[in-house]
Amino acid sequence: MQGVLGAFHELDAAVSAIEALKKDRLGAIRVFTPTPRHELEEAITAPPSSVRRFTLIGGLLGVTFGYWIAIWVSDYWPLVVGGKPIASWVPYTIFGFEVMVLIGGLSTVLGLLINSRVPRLTMMVGYDPRFSHGDYGVWVECPPDKVRTAETLLKEHGAVEVRRER
């Protein structure tokens, strides 16, 4: 993996650089930003996050398990009271709900970790500590013959530092 990294002080400069890079189709773009910004999100036009699927599946599994465990335990260790059902769905809705939230929440976190590719033991190519403080980074992955074009483009749009990395 090789490419060019441009560091920007200003948000609008980073946005215009991304738009120019996309226009020239130089390669895959990754942006480093200290805080999420809709301007960057719109410039990148990434697909919707798939975390929601993890939440949905986890929640459905959780509610099923919550009801099932209460009903199964009641049937296996029955507490027989005259006129009362062994397994009663009304109070068991509490278990269904709580376990839905529990498994749904943990699945959401799992979805975040899987989709974001974290945890990572090493920093990825192009990362610089300044990107967690205040600067924006635009990394474009490109073949050797397009590196110079990418460098020129990033500088034209106000990058304070441009460097090649691999």
Binding site: P36, G104, V109, V118, P119, P129, H133
Partner: protein, 487 residues
């Protein structure tokens, strides 16, 4: 995620210090570097912090010593007087669970409602939630004669002839609180990841701390891909936490409402408990955040507008709680149930009049002062009021637990209850335990969310922002003496 940072209105527009949009602004916070510098700067330990931690540990040691004495001597030293077999421990358990509710309310529900004033106070409230639930979780164990058998409480099928009773509110409670603790801790940790990455990437950080922060930040790199999934996951966690907040204290209220005991057996308990929990949690948020903003010089982050908005929420929940109190009286009168009427008469005019008087004064009367804008914008008054709210809410649980058990159906069962020094010692210990964790937290991790504050700080731009921000990120129209921003 914020795109537009609203500017302070231009000079030709009338200034209104207490408007909703103003609560989102941090006019004195000009750039990201300032956010990092000032919030990370709070992490350096000071002499005052060590003294505070020492006091917390001292109270904790009182609690531990008292508990050891109780284990040695038996639960009889705890002041139980049959049939009052629930006393200070269950009162304090419900009190701490209630305290834990404001955190998730502020971080999740207000997040969904896009209430800007939550931004600078939610981290503090979230941490408070986790530590409050940790404190509450001690009390079922403290209540045991043989605490080393605590795992018998967990409702799993076993061969000890203790069968799980899934129709019991106490089992519902175990599930609800474990879920709440897990989700609250997860929510806190997920929100901390980008901030821990900021701490990791600082210069002049010791290698050991850098390694710890590297592990805790999970290798977070601030990429657009990470933020995209982070924002979505945070939203869903907030959406899941919102009904959870409402359910947990409802389930706690079922511990009482499912019994036939006078004063407990009422359908009003779930909303009444939830509102009371949020009210008490807001009180504790004020108790914590007002000194912190003063000692750390963070008044330009937690502004008067933020406190004002939070005070309105406190007032609103106080009104709900007050309405619930009056509904209880009405139901007792309107039901025509003599036992219920006798119990309420005893609670309000009988042997427990003093506890009821404290409760109603602290929770119904004094919070009405928050109708005054001047008092809502006075940190001193809010701080003092927060103490009365905390006291009032502890007494609310006292009034729920003790008068009901001491005045049940049969007159020959009527009795009294007086906590002993053991109860008070363990009560002190619980405050010490909570304060110790909080003191440790505030010096290890940022108590104001760095990445979220950056969302509402105008970014640096090459050209002027259409919403009145100059290329250096400063608001065009900004006056340091904007009313209400500094106090």
């Amino acid at each position: 995620m914020a795109t537009i940072t609203r500017p302070v209105p231009p000079k030709n527009e009338p200034r209104r210090p207490n408007i909703a949009s103003a609560s989102v602004q941090l006019p004195a916070v000009r750039d990201y570097e300032q956010v990092d510098r000032e919030i990370v700067g709070t992490l350096h330990p000071t002499v005052a912090w060590f003294i505070g931690l020492g006091i917390a540990v001292f109270f904790l040691l009182i609690g531990i010593g008292t508990w050891m004495y109780q284990i040695y001597s038996g639960l009889g030293v705890a002041g139980y007087n049959p049939p009052v077999m629930w006393g200070v421990y269950i009162i304090t358990f419900v009190f701490w669970i209630g305290i834990g509710h404001a955190g998730t309310l502020i971080s999740a529900i207000l997040y969904l409602f896009r209430a800007g004033f939550r931004t600078t106070i939610y981290r503090c409230a979230e941490a408070m939630t986790v530590f409050a639930v940790m404190t509450a979780a001690l009390f079922p164990i403290l209540h045991l004669g043989r605490p080393w058998k605590f795992f018998w409480l967990i409702p799993y099928p076993n061969w000890r002839y203790i069968w799980p009773q899934f129709k019991s509110p106490l089992v519902w409670d175990v599930f609800a609180i474990l879920t709440y603790f897990t989700i609250s801790s997860t929510f806190l940790f997920i929100g901390l990841i980008p901030d821990v990455a900021v701490l990791r990437d600082r210069e002049n950080i010791s290698p050991i701390r850098k390694r710890i922060f590297s592990v805790l930040s999970l290798g977070w790199r601030n990429t657009d891909n990470e933020w995209r999934h982070f924002a979505r996951a945070y939203l869903f966690l907030a959406a899941l936490s919102t009904p959870l907040v409402l359910s947990v204290h409802s389930v706690v209220s079922f511990d009482f409402a499912m019994a036939l005991t006078p004063g407990w057996h009422t359908t009003i308990f779930p909303p009444y408990f939830v509102a009371g929990a949020i009210f008490s949690g807001m009180g504790m948020v004020f108790t914590i955040i007002i000194p912190l903003r003063k000692w750390w010089g963070l008044k330009h982050y937690v502004t008067i507008n933020h406190l004002d908005a939070a005070a309105k929420l406190c007032l609103f929940t106080s009104l709900i709680v007050g309405c619930a109190y009056m509904t209880e009286w009405f139901v007792a009168w309107f039901s025509g149930n003599e036992v219920e009427q006798s119990f309420f008469a005893n609670r309000i005019w009988g042997q427990w009049w003093w506890a009821s008087a404290i409760l109603y004064t602290c929770n119904m009367v004094l919070p009405l002062s928050l109708f005054s804008q001047r008092l809502r914008r006075s940190p001193t008054w809010l701080f003092l009021l927060s103490f009365t709210v905390n006291i009032g809410m502890w007494f609310e649980r006292f009034v729920i637990v003790v008068p009901s058990l001491s005045h049940e159906f049969e007159p020959w069962q009527w009795t009294s209850y007086r906590p002993t020094w053991v109860d008070y010692g363990i009560l002190c210990g619980s405050f010490g335990w909570f304060a110790m964790w909080f003191m440790l937290f505030i010096k290890q991790l940022p108590v104001i969310a760095i990445s979220e504050v950056k969302e509402i700080v105008p970014p640096k731009l090459r050209t002027a922002h259409p919403h009145g921000i100059d290329p250096a990120g400063r608001h065009f129209e900004y006056e340091a003496d904007t009313p209400g921003e500094y106090a």
